[in-house]
Each structure stands twice: as structure tokens, then as C-alpha cells.
Amino acid sequence: MLNFKTSLKKTALSIATGSLMLGMAMSAPATAKTFEPQQVTDMLHLVLESDRTIYTKKVVKRLANKHKVIKATESFEDDKSLPLPAQMFRFGAEAVADKTDKFSYSLLSLWPINKQNKPTTELEKKGLEYINANKGKNFYGEETLGGKKYFTAVYADVAVATPCVGCHNNHKDTPKKDFKMGDVMGGVVIRIPLK
């Protein structure tokens, strides 16, 4: 457990926004507060969700939908357009995966446009179903993958801006065409390895 908590500290250190809270904890005497996995994934999720919403609203919605000066498309390099919100999210996740295995995250859905984004583990499926049925609640659990134990948290990914709904409902690969504002469209899965 000690080991686990130190590794968690390191994890927390690498999270930009978490650093403020951590700063307070670190400035305390030697009996510094340590973090439970759930607190860490909750903090991580706040960062991810905020960045994701801001990109969709301040970049995609403003430039593509309001001013119509540029589109957001999957082949954004060739199209000279904006990356999709889901791509921005994945690029971040992949960059993190290249740097550390102390945590990982992904954006999944039970109705994925990209079939690689459907749940692959039992817990992912259970988590996505839970957050869909219990609006406003998060899902937490543990699972063993490749012989390693993980703390896995699933958070709802909600249609927070009109482009979310518009783009998904009209995409040729979407299995669901009736998303409405405020709907749960998928989930953010965050994992932390347990020792």
C-alpha cells in the first residue's frame, strides 16, 4: 500500500491542474496527505472534461458552426481543417501513454462512430451502461488486464454543445441518430494500475 501511495503521488505530480492541490498537501508537514485512486481519477477527469468542453465550444463551435470559417473533420491534415474533439482527446491520451504507464485514459461509447471506441473489457461495458442509466453518477471498479490489477473509473461524456449532437447524428457511421443536448453520448475511462 505504501508503494502504491508513493506511485500515486508521482502520478498526481504529473497532472497540471492537480498540482495546485498537491502543492497545498506538500507544504504540509511530513505526514502529508496521500490520495486515494478515486480522488486522482476525479481530478484527472476534471481537467480532461474541461479541456474537451472548451475545445468544442471555443474552437469548433465558434469557428465551424458560428463563423463557418473552417470545418472540423477527421482527415484534418489533408483537409486543412480542425481535428475532431475526439481526436484531440485521443492525441492527448496517446502522448501521455508514450510518457508514462502510471495512468491512462480513453473515450468510449456504446454507440461508437469509430468501432475501435466500443468497450473491450467487461468492466468498460458495465461502466458505460451504469453511467448511462444513472445520470450524474460516476462508475468505479477494479479489473485485471494482462495480469495487472487496475482501478478503473468511468465518467459520462455528455452532449454539452450543439455540434456534438449535430455531427454525431449525421455521421454515416453512427449507430444512433437521435442524440439530444444533455444526453450521455459515451464515457471517459481512466485507469490507474494498483500494486
Binding site: 491520451a93 496517446e94 508514450d98 504507464d101 468501432k115 473491450t120 473489457t121 494482462g146 449507430p175 485507469r191
Partner: protein
């Protein structure tokens, strides 16, 4: 001494001697060809005796081998916008998949020394062709209109998909270029303005044009012809003086009579990098060693010799045997001449060695005809298609800060395998997408150097159009 003891002593000394010999050969020096555990792929055969390059100092560590793969191929993968980069598989949610197919390691699919496993695609891929199945098993269900009941052996061999490089095959690209005619209206090679671009990126220009009186070589090294050919060529015009190449470091160096690759590379950096990554220069890449220095000073480090045509697996002309491949092999015009020829390196130099069907057929090909017309001034610059146009094209690569840099790649493999890599960098200058895909899919047409028409029609574009016109049937 009993016979038994004698026997044991003999056995022991024999073992030590043979073991010592093998170890020394393996790690330091000697004839290693007897140690090869199987024929190497055509990609690596030139460097197969530099064991250390891939195996490091030991033979067990998979990480060492993986690092070796990436040390040569990582950049190429990045430039090709790899569809399956390693970072995609790091997320632990892939654990179950990785147990079936470890996509984090190159050697999972590209095993060396096992020629019997190489698939007919000639790509150095050594696993069953239906590997896509492991992750994309549901594609028939997800795309019933086009992918229902398809055989997974065809994904990568049908002309539709590649595992790594799909820049000219991905769906939106196919859709966007679906309706292109066989021949485009203007048929000019995408001649990126190389001079201007290279200026922007640090540039090859070293100073103002130099005249004959400014040549700074000692008298004994100069004659009129050298002076004239230097003066009329790009080097003098861009301020490159005699000493720039023959004595780059005046304080520490004597006059170099025949400057080698290292000198060229000081300015032609990216060209050199790609040369060392390709089939002509790979033997000269750093860390390609024929023998290695040992701790006791018994052996000295010795690099592999430059490539020679007789070492190649492709048919080469007898008359070229013995020629060592360096910059000058293709770019020098001849003795006592300082003109560095870029024309010669486009066709003539290639055909002085290469003797396979495709190479020989070039001279009667429509591409060659265009080039002849360009040379005669009957067609504008950029109309002709030479060996170099396709095999050493001008391409954009990224430097370490992800800035785009334009280079003439000297790594002919970089846009050759799989050959769809050529579509964007070369074919698309003049030809439509369907025509290009079809032509590259016909091995016979390639042998005839594109004299004639493809016997194949690749259906990928039709399928894309089918899907986009009936989206509702895709669930």
C-alpha cells in the same frame, strides 16, 4: 596419466577453443556468414553480417532489437502517418488483444532470418495474412454494404489497406479523389521549389557567387578545366570555395584530395540522412560494423564497406561490379571535372548498374518518351519522368521540431514498399487516383515499366462511393 583424464582435458580445451572462436566471431571479428541462422530479408541482407547493429551485445533482449528497428525506421513511420503506431496500443485496455498479436513489437510481424515465412506480398511480413481479424473481426457486421463475408486474407493484399501507410488509401481521400480522370489536365511533376524552400530552411547557399580568381586552392591542385567546371556549376554560384570541401577545417586539417560523403553531408544533410537509410547507402550508416574493438585490443573497429552492385540481390550489370556507391558514383561527371551532375543521376547512373526487367523497360516506356521531349524543349520542365522522379522524389519530411523540410529523398525504399506510397508523392502529379491505384496493383505492368494498361481494377473507390451514397444501410 590415465586415458580418462587425457580425454577430459582434450574435451575441455576443445570446448574452450571452439567456444572462444565462436564468441569472438560473433561479437568482434571473423567470418560470420556461417553463423547466420537463416536467410535475411531483402531489406536487411546488405547489413546481415553487422550482427551487433540489431542484436546489440547479446542475443536475448527483445528491447534491444525493438530499439534497433526504430533507430532506422521510426522516422519513416512517423512521416507515413502510421495508422497503427505503438502508442495506440499502450493503453491497458488492449491487453487481451496484445496477447493474441503483440502490436508493440515490430518483430511480431517482421521476423528476420525466416524466409520461409515471408508472405507473397514481398513486404517482409512473416505472419499469416489474416492478422487484421484479431481486432477488426466485426467489420462485416459494421459495414454490411461493402465488407460482409469478406475474407480477412485480402485486407492488405487487395490494394485496399496497408497496416502502416494509408495516406493514399483512407476513405475520405478515396472519396475526395474518386472522380479524377486517368490523366490530369496539366501533367507536371509537383516540382516543389526546392531552391527557394531550402533557402528558407537554413539554405544551401554559403555566400555570393565566386569568380575564377577567388578560387582558394593551392596552385598544385588547380588546373584550368577544374577551375572552369567548378566556376560554371552550383558550388561556385552558391559561394562554395575549394577549401570548403577540400579543407573544411584549415587549422586542424591537411588538404583532402578526395572529399568523401562526410564532407558532402555538412551541407546536404537530409539527402545524406536518407542516403544512409536507403539501399545505396545503408552499409555506411553509423553503427554498421564488420568488426568491433574488443577490451584487449585484439581487434579494431572496422566499418562495412560501401555497397557494390555485385552484393545486390537484384540483377546488376557485370560491367558495374566493383563500383563502390558513394555520392560521387552518381553525381560526379568524371575525372578532373567539378561539375556535379544532377541529370546523370536521374537515369544514366541508374542504368549503368541496374539490369532487371523494369529498369531495362524504362527506355521504351511512355515516361521515358516524355523525358526525352522535355530534354529537347518540346515539353515544359517537369513533364518528363525519370528513374529519380519515382524513386528519389522531392518529398516533405519533418525535422526534430516538426517543421516541414523539403528534400530529395535518397532512400529509394521510402516510397516504394508498399508501392501505394508513390501515389501521393509521384503518380498524383499527373494521374488520377483510380488509374494510379490500378496501375500499381499490376506486377506485370510494373515489369514493363508502365507500357500498357493495368489488368486489374481495384474496387476500393467504388465501395467508398457505394457507402457514401447509401449511408442509411450502414446502420
Amino acid at each position: 596419466m590415465s586415458r580418462n583424464i587425457l580425454f577430459w582435458l582434450l574435451w575441455l580445451s576443445g570446448t574452450v577453443a571452439i567456444g572462444g572462436y565462436l564468441t569472438t566471431t560473433m561479437f568482434y571479428n571473423g567470418d560470420r556468414s556461417s553463423l547466420l541462422i537463416g536467410k535475411t530479408t531483402s531489406g536487411h541482407h546488405q547489413i546481415e553480417l553487422s550482427c551487433n547493429t540489431c542484436h546489440g551485445n547479446g542475443f536475448t533482449d527483445g528491447d534491444t532489437i525493438q530499439k534497433a528497428c526504430l533507430s532506422c525506421h521510426e522516422n519513416e513511420l512517423k512521416v507515413s502517418k502510421d495508422s497503427h503506431p505503438i502508442k495506440k496500443f499502450r493503453d491497458p485496455r488492449n491487453a487481451a488483444r496484445l496477447e493474441q498479436l503483440n502490436a508493440m513489437k515490430c518483430v511480431t510481424c517482421h521476423t528476420e532470418h525466416k524466409p520461409e515465412l515471408i508472405s507473397s506480398m514481398g513486404m517482409g511480413v512473416t505472419i499469416p495474412k489474416d492478422y487484421c481479424f484479431k481486432c477488426h473481426a466485426d467489420v462485416g457486421k459494421d459495414r454490411p454494404l461493402t465488407h460482409k463475408d469478406l475474407n480477412f486474407e485480402g485486407c492488405a493484399s487487395s490494394g485496399c489497406h496497408n497496416y502502416h501507410d494509408n495516406r493514399a488509401l483512407y476513405e475520405n481521400f478515396l472519396e475526395k479523389h474518386a472522380k479524377q480522370p486517368e490523366m490530369k489536365l496539366t501533367q507536371l511533376i509537383n516540382n516543389l521549389n526546392y531552391e527557394k524552400l531550402s533557402e528558407e530552411y537554413g539554405g544551401l547557399k554559403r555566400g555570393n557567387p565566386l569568380n575564377r580568381t577567388e578560387a582558394n586552392a593551392p596552385k598544385e591542385h588547380i588546373n584550368q578545366k577544374l577551375l572552369d567546371t567548378w566556376h560554371d556549376d552550383a558550388h561556385a554560384k552558391n559561394g562554395v570555395n575549394c577549401s570548403s570541401c577540400h579543407q573544411p577545417n584549415k587549422e586542424k586539417q591537411a588538404w583532402i584530395k578526395k572529399p568523401g560523403i562526410a564532407v558532402c553531408a555538412t551541407c546536404h544533410k537530409e539527402e545524406n540522412k536518407s542516403f544512409l537509410a536507403g539501399k545505396h547507402g545503408m552499409r555506411l550508416a553509423p553503427n554498421m560494423l564488420q568488426s568491433k574493438a574488443d577490451p584487449f585490443g585484439l581487434f579494431k573497429e572496422k566499418k562495412l564497406s560501401p555497397m557494390r552492385p555485385e552484393l545486390a540481390r537484384l540483377p546488376m550489370k557485370q560491367s558495374a561490379h566493383g563500383t563502390e556507391l558513394t555520392c560521387n558514383t552518381c553525381h560526379s561527371v568524371g575525372k578532373n571535372n567539378h561539375k556535379f551532375n544532377i541529370q546523370k543521376a536521374k537515369v544514366q547512373a541508374c542504368l549503368s548498374c541496374h539490369d532487371d526487367e523494369h529498369s531495362k523497360a524504362y527506355l521504351t516506356s511512355p515516361h521515358h518518351e516524355l523525358w526525352q521531349k522535355e530534354l529537347k524543349g518540346e515539353l515544359p520542365k517537369g513533364s518528363g519522368v525519370t528513374c529519380a522522379t519515382c524513386h528519389m522524389p522531392r518529398i516533405a519530411v519533418e525535422d526534430e521540431y516538426e517543421n516541414e523540410v523539403f528534400i530529395i529523398t535518397h532512400n529509394q525504399n521510402d516510397n516504394l514498399r508498399p508501392n501505394e506510397k508513390m501515389i501521393r508523392s509521384v503518380c498524383s502529379s499527373c494521374h488520377g487516383l483510380q488509374f494510379s491505384i490500378d496501375s500499381l496493383a499490376d506486377p506485370n505492368l510494373i515489369k514493363k515499366n508502365f507500357h500498357g494498361r493495368s489488368a486489374f481494377k481495384i474496387e476500393s473507390i467504388d465501395w467508398v462511393l457505394k457507402r457514401s451514397s447509401k449511408p442509411e444501410e450502414n446502420k
